[in-house]
Amino acid sequence: MTSAVARFAARETALPLDGTVEMIHGSGGRATAELVRALFHRHFDNALLAQGNDQAAFDVQAGRMVMTTDAHVISPLFFPGGDIGSLAVHGTINDVAMAGARPLYLSAAFILEEGFPLADLERIVASMARASREAGVPIVTGDTKVVEKGKGDGVFITTAGLGIVPRGVHISGDRAAPGDAILVSGTLGDHGVAVLSKRENLTFETEILSDSAALHGLVADMIAAVPGIHCLRDPTRGGLAATLNEIAQQSRVGMRLAEAAIPFKPDVLAACELLGLDPLYIANEGKLIAICGKAHAERLLGVMREHPLGRDAAIVGEVAADPHAFVQMQTRFGGSRMVDWLAGDPLPRIC
């Protein structure tokens, strides 16, 4: 008797990870429970998740909190320097951190397509777990749904994050003021070029890795040095250009950039040249833009450069009074141009 019970119990711990995602994994029955336990709980392993409830309950201190959510639909799922899993963790931590907040907890919701290899799913989940552990921000609740084959693109992941803002910190996109300095934390365009290089119809050789990284450690150092930072934002989709235009609109100011001061890796510039893309519009996943009073700019730059994720930080321009909220740039060549919003997708030129 005992041995039969033990055998059944043992069966429950067997990993069902050699096949593919099936509709039954989303049915809410035993298969769902097994997937959640064998994959998500095992990798994400933390006390709040282990409570096994449909929500995580935790105490919070009094103060100002931030909450954010991010949906991830990247193709390809695996790319040089990361995958959809690490990206889903970093992206949400960064959105929390850009308020100057210390990220506390994450949630993760998965939409899986029927037929997706469980081994690939495990790679993604393990990568998420690693990213979350390294960042010290646990994934404490989640959900899984399965859609029929053809109705998804392998895996979609939505993460949400909670964080707490230190007292005295007030960072917001509407606080840029004329005269402020604009800083970036490192070379731009690495993520977008790494992903493009693996697109099915575009494979090209490059050693560029995605810069995907959690920036809350860098932000903590920056706030400790300059608590009065006005704006922080990570230039993801649409790159530096889109992010600066957003802030310019929010703050009703103009931006004046010096192209020669903006850090790029030569390989990124070469790839953009080849594809006819403008690196100012290429996505980043481990970089931030900071805007602060001119008097604090050098100090902030120094602190950023001391952090491993800010080694190539640079002051790239300044905020100007401008009723049109135009972002303009002095080109390396000696002329001037607008740095406009991106129109549509960045489409390679043909000629």
């Binding site: 119809n201 030569p266 002095q330 390396r332 000696g334 001037s336 141009r337 607008m338």
Partner: protein, 382 residues
């Protein structure tokens, strides 16, 4: 040399700028039409005009392959995707170009048509091989630069017996367009547009060579300087044009010697001649019907001609009312002269084709240059 930023050097640019200031006579204006959208794009992206003296003016020409394709041909592409149910492969730029009734390939795709963006015609061949049960049509557009790869693909398809592949051919020819502009009444008779010199195409000339322009320089008494697509190229070429104008010379000069020869790429020319023949006439957006200005697929490759295979008939279709693209493409008006510019027509929702491609004059003005005050060529000439 990596050919990434060597031709964007600020010190060299300043050297060229002071040479241009020295040699451009203050008593006259120099209106130099850069033929290609690639030139236009470089001028705006790098802010070249800021380095030029006030009396040296770049006039933007029609050399944007996306911009000059008439609405009727885009309607044809939509018909192929929507009514014939083919997999339509297109370069990215074409997807947003407005067709009649404000439709576009991108909207057709959202509506369920199988429209795919490709980076090269080779990808279309791959798609045809992978989908033997489907008809795959490549939307072939472009000047002489994109024509040889189309010729190669058609020959490959024939050699492989790839029966489900065909090309909707819209390849056009540069020299015919330049001649048409020079013969247009605004330029020849009325004199409302003064074009003193041309910057000739760079990539196109790498294929056809500099020799085909010799006729215009002679016949129309205008200097032609073949110019590369880098900002230093367009400045140096302008200087060469200014010198010719000052010395009353009308020659074809080649600034882009690192790529272009007088004869061009003979192998590519041979391939094109093997697969294509001249159309007696073809409609250009902005220029109207231009004789012998485009190519069609020869009878020997008829099986790969989507126009024959799907019995495509091009109906004349009107451009949007009050869109000034036709005048802008000939250098008669500037984008800011158009009532639609920046009001209902922006890169996010383009009405005219010049607002679609990043090489179009309107898109370049809007995206890179709308912070500066503008004047029209008519005012500039006054």
């Amino acid at each position: 040399m990596k050919y990434v930023d060597e031709f964007r050097d600020r010190d060299l640019a300043e050297g060229l700028a002071s040479a241009i200031r020295r040699e451009a006579q203050s008593s006259r204006r120099y209106n130099i039409m850069e033929f290609c959208g690639g030139h236009t794009h470089a001028i705006f992206r790098y802010g070249v005009q800021d380095l030029m003296p006030e009396n040296v003016n770049y006039v933007h020409g029609p050399g944007c392959p996306v911009c000059v394709l008439p609405v009727g041909r885009i309607d044809n592409a939509l018909e192929l995707a929507e009514e014939h149910g083919v997999i339509l492969c297109s370069y990215g730029d074409m997807l947003r170009v407005p067709a009649s009734k404000r439709r576009s390939l991108l909207k057709a795709k959202a509506g369920g048509a199988d429209v795919r963006m490709v980076y090269s015609i080779d990808d279309s061949l791959k798609i045809a091989r992978a989908n033997p049960d489907r008809e795959v049509v490549f939307f072939g557009i472009g000047f002489e630069t994109t024509t040889p790869p189309t010729a190669v693909a058609i020959r490959k398809a024939q050699a492989e017996g790839l029966g489900n592949f065909s090309v909707f051919c819209n390849h056009v020819l540069t020299p015919a367009a330049i001649q048409h502009i020079l013969e247009s009444p605004e330029v020849r008779d009325i004199g409302s547009v003064s074009i003193d010199a041309f910057l000739g195409p760079s990539h196109v000339s790498s294929i056809i060579g500099s020799q085909p322009y010799e006729f215009f320089a002679e016949e129309f008494q205008r200097p032609v300087v073949i110019a590369g697509f880098e900002p230093l190229d367009v400045m140096q070429a302008a200087l060469m044009a200014i010198r010719q104008i000052n010395e009353n010379r009308c020659e074809v000069e080649n600034q882009y010697t690192r790529v272009v020869t007088r004869e061009g790429n003979l192998k590519a020319q041979e391939l094109v001649a093997n697969v294509f023949e001249l159309r007696p006439s073809f409609e250009w957006r902005g220029l109207g019907l231009v004789p012998y200005s485009a190519l069609r697929i020869k009878e020997a490759y008829a099986a790969f001609d989507a126009e024959r295979r799907f019995a495509i008939m091009t109906k004349p279709a009107r451009d949007a009312k009050s869109c000034e693209c036709p005048f802008i493409l000939r250098g008669v008006k500037k984008p800011t002269d158009c009532k639609l510019f920046g009001t209902v027509c922006t890169p996010d929702s383009p009405i005219g084709s010049c607002m679609v491609s990043s090489e179009g004059a309107c898109a370049a003005y809007w995206t890179y240059g709308r912070f500066r005050p503008q004047s029209s060529p008519a005012e500039a000439a006054a």
